[in-house]
Amino acid sequence: MTDTELIEKLKADLGGKVAEIAHPAPRRLFLKVAPQDLIAVTTRLRDVYGVVFLSTISGVDNGETFEIVYHFSTPETDFNLRTEIPRADPHIASITPVIPGAILYERELQDMFGMIIDGLPDPRPLVLPDDWPAGNYPLRKDWKRVRPEEVIPGGKS
C-alpha cells in the first residue's frame, strides 16, 4: 500500500477524528487529532493498521499551547500523531494502557514540560535530580536558568 492509498483509507476510516493528514515526505504521515480522540485513534491504529511500535513522544512548547507528537512506525510507513493541549490546563490522557512501551516517554513529558498525564500506571512525580526544585520545567521556552558561579581551584576565581 502506498502512502497516498493509505491516506485515503485513513480518511475514510477515521473520518472526523482526524483533522488533517499531512504528507511532507515519503513515508512520513502527520495526523492531527484532538486530545480527547487520542486514545480512540491510537487503539484503532493499533488494532486495524498494526501500528504497535512507538518510537518516541516529542513535546514542543508553542507558547500558548503544548504540542505533543507521537511517533509511531510500521514497516510500511511512519505515523506521527499530533495533538495540542492548552498551556493553562496541560492535561492529556495516557496511552500507556494501549502501548505499554510509552510509559517512559510520558514520564519524560511530565518531567520536562510539566504536562499532566492522566491515567499513567506509575505516576510518581518526576523530578530531575533528587534536589531539583519543584515547578521548574526545563524544556519550557520561558524557563531560564542562572548559571552557578564556578570556582577555579587554586586560581583567583
Binding site: L128, P129, D130, D131, W132, P138, R145, R147, P148, E150, V151, P153
Partner: protein, 139 residues
Amino acid sequence: MLNKLARWSRIRSPWVLHLNSGACNACDIEILAALTPRFDVERFGILLKATPRHADVIIASGPVTRQMRDRIIRIYEQVPDPKFVIAVGACALSGCVYRGAYNIMGGIDQVIPVNMYVPGCPARPDAIIDGVVKLLGKL
C-alpha cells in the same frame, strides 16, 4: 627508609577506580581500552579495582551532573588515604560542550580536589597512561 619504601611501592602499584560522573562514554571506553592488549597498563602495576576501598587513584571522567555531585563526594571519601584524582577528558576539566547546561555543575574540580588533568575529547589511552605515570612521577 620506610618512607622511601612506601613511596616506591605507591609509585609502583597504583590501583585505579574508574568514576563516571556523567560522561559521554568516550573517555570511559578509552580508559577501558588502556587495559587491553595494545596499551596494557598492568605493565606499570596499574589495576582497575572495583571498590573505592581498594583504590589509590580515582580516574574521573565527565562533567559533574547535579545528581552525581553528592555521590562523587561520597566515593571520594571512601577511598583510603593517600588518594589522588585524575580528571580525564575535556568534560572533566571544564564541562566541554555541556558547560552551561542546567544540570551540569562544571568540571570535577568543582567538587573534589584534582591532582592531574588529562585533556582531550576524548583523551587517548596513551594520554591517560601518560597522565597516571606523570602523576606518580610527581610524588
